[in-house]
C-alpha cells in the first residue's frame, strides 16, 4: 500500500505543547495537557480516544470557538497557508483572537463538521440559505450562482432530491440528512483543512461509506487535509493515514495507521481495540475497559491511565511517562516502552485478533 509521505515542507498545521483549561464553579478542568501533533497537506489524520479526552476541545480551538470559560495556558498552533496571490503566510492560532480566527480563517481555510448537527444548523433558516450564506460571504458571486452551487453540493453529499431539501428546514430532515447538509456547508468554500468531529455517527453504514468516499474524492481533487475525530475504529481504518490516540487530555500513542492498528503499544490502545465489537466472532459480552476516566479537576499525578491499567508499574503512580520513539513514525507515552521496563505482552485475545487481521491483509 502506498503510504502517505510526511514531508516537513508540506506541513499545514503544527500543534506544540498545547495546554488548555476551563474555569468552572467547582475548580479548573485541565482539559488539554501538552498536545503535540502535525498535519500535512493532503493527509488524513484521525484522533480517537475516550469520551472527554479532549478531542473536540483541541479542534474547537482551531476554529476559534473555544467556550468562553476556556483559556489557552500555553503552546502554539501554527497554520500555514497560501493566499490567493501565492504568497505563504503563517498564523499562530493561539495568538489570534477568536473573532479573528473566525473572520479570517473559518469557512474558506478551515472548515468543520460538528458532532451535533442540530446545534450547527439554524432552525429558522431554510437549508438552501444556510449553504448559500458562506459562499456569499466569502466570494463575489451572484445569488443565482450561489444557489446553483448549493444545489450541486446537496447532490454531491448524497441528498436525493436537492431542490426539495433546498427549501426545507432542519427539523424536517432526518438526523442523517441534517449531517449531510452540514458537510455540504463545510465544503461550500473549498477549505484547506476539513475537520470532521464524529461526522458520521448519525449516519447508517451505507451512507457513511458513501460520505467517507465523497470526502476522500473531494480531498484528492483539491488536495485538502482532513482531521477526523471518531470513535469508530472501522472508519479510522478506512480513511486515516495517521492516528493519534488521546487519553485524559494527552496523546498517548500516535503513528501511521498500520503501526498503531497492527502493533499497538499503549495499554489504553489495547483496551480500545479490544472493546470494539467484532462481527466475525460469537460472544455476548464486549470487553470494556474497567473504571472511568480521571477527574481532570484534580491534578493528575503519574500516568492518567494507571488506575485502570492492569499492567501499571510503580513509577506510573508517580511520574508521567515521556513520549518514546518506538521506530518509524510510531510514538508512545507509556513507561512500558522504557528499555528498563519489564516485558509486557499484548493481551492474548487482542493478539489473536491482530494476527487474524494481519493474515487477512497479507502483512507479516
Amino acid at each position: 500500500m502506498a503510504k502517505f509521505k510526511r514531508d516537513k515542507n508540506e506541513r499545514v498545521l503544527s500543534i506544540r505543547d498545547l495546554n488548555i483549561s476551563f474555569k468552572t464553579n467547582y475548580g479548573t478542568v485541565r482539559a488539554i495537557r501538552g498536545v503535540r501533533l502535525d498535519l500535512f497537506q493532503g493527509e488524513t489524520i484521525a484522533i480517537v480516544g475516550e469520551s472527554g479526552s479532549g478531542k473536540s476541545v483541541t479542534v474547537k480551538t482551531m476554529m476559534g470557538i473555544l467556550d468562553s470559560n476556556g483559556t489557552i495556558d500555553s503552546g502554539s498552533i501554527i497554520y500555514r497557508c497560501r493566499e490567493k496571490d501565492g504568497s505563504e503566510i503563517e498564523y499562530d492560532l493561539t495568538k489570534m483572537s477568536q473573532k479573528d480566527i473566525r473572520y479570517k480563517l473559518c469557512g474558506k481555510h478551515i472548515a468543520m463538521v460538528f458532532q451535533d448537527p442540530m446545534t450547527s444548523l439554524d432552525p429558522t433558516m431554510t437549508i438552501g440559505r444556510q449553504i448559500m450564506e458562506p459562499i456569499l460571504e466569502h466570494e463575489t458571486v451572484s445569488r443565482a450562482e450561489a444557489a446553483d452551487r448549493a444545489l450541486k453540493l446537496l447532490d454531491e453529499v448524497g441528498i436525493n432530491e436537492p431542490s426539495k431539501t433546498f427549501k426545507q428546514y432542519p427539523h424536517e430532515l432526518s438526523g442523517g440528512m441534517r449531517q449531510r447538509v452540514v458537510i455540504a456547508i463545510a465544503l461550500a468554500c473549498d477549505p484547506d483543512i476539513l475537520i470532521c468531529d464524529e461526522p458520521t455517527t448519525a449516519l447508517d453504514v451505507t451512507i457513511q461509506a458513501k460520505i467517507l468516499e465523497k470526502i476522500k474524492e473531494i480531498q484528492l481533487k483539491k488536495n485538502i487535509s482532513v482531521i477526523y475525530i471518531t470513535h469508530d475504529l472501522g472508519v479510522v481504518a478506512k480513511v486515516a493515514d495517521y492516528v493519534a490516540v488521546m487519553y485524559a487530555g494527552r496523546i498517548v500513542e500516535k503513528g501511521n495507521i498500520n503501526e498503531v492498528f497492527y502493533d499497538p503499544r499503549h495499554p489504553y490502545t489495547w483496551g480500545l481495540l479490544s472493546s470494539m465489537p467484532d462481527v466475525d466472532t460469537d460472544s455476548d459480552r464486549l470487553f470494556a475497559i474497567p473504571g472511568s476516566p480521571p477527574n481532570l479537576m484534580e491534578e493528575v499525578v503519574g500516568d492518567a491511565f494507571a488506575p485502570r491499567n492492569p499492567f501499571a508499574l510503580k513509577i506510573d503512580y508517580r511520574e508521567e511517562p515521556p513520549m518514546y520513539d518506538v521506530g518509524g513514525q510510531h510514538r508512545v507515552a507509556s513507561w512500558l516502552c522504557d528499555p528498563h521496563a519489564p516485558k509486557v505482552e499484548v493481551p492474548a485475545e487482542l493478539k489473536v485478533r491482530i494476527e487474524k487481521m494481519k493474515k487477512e491483509a497479507g502483512v507479516q
Binding site: 476551563f22 468552572t24 467547582y26 480517537v48 480516544g49 475516550e50 469520551s51 472527554g52 473536540s56 467556550d67 458532532q115 451535533d116 448537527p117 442540530m118 446545534t119 426539495k164 426545507q168 424536517e172 432526518s174 438526523g175 442523517g176 449531517q179 464524529e198 455517527t201 448519525a202 449516519l203 447508517d204 453504514v205 451505507t206 451512507i207 461509506a209 470513535h231 475504529l233 472501522g234 479510522v236 481504518a237 478506512k238 486515516a240 498500520n258 492498528f261 497492527y262 483496551g271 480500545l272 472493546s275 470494539m276 465489537p277 467484532d278 462481527v279 455476548d284 459480552r285 464486549l286 470487553f287 470494556a288 475497559i289 472511568s292 477527574n295 487481521m357 491483509a361 497479507g362 502483512v363
Partner: protein
C-alpha cells in the same frame, strides 16, 4: 423465543405520515408490524431517513399515528389516550434520544434533569428517596456525583449521552426506546453502556427497542432485528438469521458496508450497493414471506424467488 409468550409491545400496520406542504406528504413510516417480547431486545436498523426515529416517537406517542395499532402491555395506546393510559405510558416507557443536547434543558443541573421524571410523576415519597435513586443511576452509568451538579454544556458529547441514559433508566421503565443512544460514545464506553444495558436487562427484565445504524453493536445487544428501509420493515429475524442468512438485498448491502478495523483490507474494500429503483424492487407490492417462525422478508413472489434462488 416461544410463540406462546405475550408480546409487551405489539405494533400492527403502523403508519406515520407528515404533510410537508399542500401537495406533498412524507410517508415516514408506511405500514410496519412487529412484536417485542418481555425482556428481549429488538434492534431496528436501516439507513438515515428510513423512519426508525419516527417509529420510536410514534410508539411513545410524541406523534399521533396516522394509522395502525400500538398495544403496550395490554393498553391500546394508538388512538386518543385516556388519562390512565397516558400515565401508564409515561411511567413505563422511556426514550433515550439521538441528539443528546437537543433534549437536555441547558439551565438545569444534570442531577435535576435526571430526577425530572420521578418528580413529575410523584414516584418518590421524599427528597431523600429521589436523591438515592439518582445516585444509584449515576453509578450505573458511570458518572460521578460531583459531575451531576454541573450543567449539560459542561460535558463532552459522550458524557451527555450518559445523562440521557440515566434519565431514562431512573424510572425503571418496562420498555426503553433507545434511539442511537450509543452512537455518540467512544467504543470503550459503548462497550460499557451495551454491557450495562444487558446487565440491567438481566436484573430488571427491561425490554429494549434499540434503534441504531451500527450493525456490529446491534449484533451484540439484540435478540431479534428489524431492517427498515424507506418506511418499511424489509426483513426481520433473529440476530443469527439476519447475519448468517440475509435474504433482502438491502440487508445484504447494510451488512457489507460495516467497516472493519483492518486498515489495509478496509482501504481496498468496496461495499455492495443497492438501489431499489434500479433493481425494480417494489415495497408497496410486496408482502410478508415467511422463512421461519422468526425470519420474514418483504417481497413480491417474484422477488422472493429471485433472492432465495442463489
Amino acid at each position: 423465543m416461544s410463540e406462546t409468550r405475550k408480546p409487551l409491545l405489539h405494533v400492527e400496520d403502523l403508519k406515520q405520515y407528515f404533510r410537508v406542504n399542500r401537495k406533498q406528504v412524507t410517508k415516514a413510516v408506511d405500514g410496519i408490524s412487529f412484536d417485542i417480547y418481555e425482556g428481549e431486545t429488538y434492534g431496528l436498523v436501516g439507513e438515515s431517513g428510513s423512519g426508525k426515529s419516527t417509529t420510536g416517537r410514534a410508539i411513545i406517542r410524541l406523534y399521533d399515528p396516522t394509522g395502525g395499532k400500538i398495544i403496550f402491555d395490554g393498553h391500546d395506546i394508538s388512538g386518543r389516550l385516556s388519562k390512565e393510559d397516558e400515565r401508564y405510558l409515561r411511567t413505563n416507557m422511556a426514550m433515550i434520544f439521538q441528539d443528546p443536547m437537543a433534549c437536555l434543558n441547558p439551565r438545569k443541573k444534570v442531577k435535576e434533569i435526571i430526577a425530572e421524571g420521578l418528580e413529575i410523576h410523584h414516584l418518590c415519597s421524599s427528597q431523600a428517596e429521589v436523591d438515592e435513586k439518582v445516585n444509584e443511576v449515576l453509578d450505573k452509568v458511570g458518572l460521578s456525583r460531583e459531575q451531576a451538579t454541573r450543567f449539560p454544556h459542561q460535558f463532552s458529547g459522550g458524557q451527555r449521552q450518559r445523562v440521557g441514559i440515566a434519565r431514562a433508566l431512573v424510572m425503571n421503565p418496562r420498555l426503553v426506546i433507545a434511539d442511537e443512544c450509543i452512537s455518540a460514545l467512544d467504543v470503550s464506553i459503548q462497550a460499557q453502556v451495551v454491557n450495562l444495558m444487558k446487565d440491567l436487562q438481566d436484573d430488571l427484565g427491561t425490554t429494549y427497542l434499540f434503534i441504531a445504524h451500527d450493525l456490529s453493536m446491534v449484533k451484540y445487544i439484540s435478540d431479534r432485528i428489524g431492517v427498515m428501509h424507506l418506511g418499511h420493515i424489509v426483513e426481520t429475524g433473529t440476530t443469527d438469521e439476519i447475519f448468517e442468512n440475509p435474504i433482502h438485498p438491502y440487508t445484504k448491502s447494510l451488512l457489507s458496508a460495516i467497516p472493519h478495523p483492518n486498515p489495509i483490507v478496509e482501504k481496498k474494500r468496496i461495499a455492495l450497493s443497492y438501489n431499489k429503483d434500479e433493481e425494480g424492487v417494489d415495497y408497496e407490492a410486496g408482502h410478508e414471506h415467511v422463512l421461519s417462525e422468526t425470519h420474514k422478508v418483504l417481497a413480491t413472489d417474484e422477488e422472493f424467488a429471485k433472492w432465495t434462488a442463489a
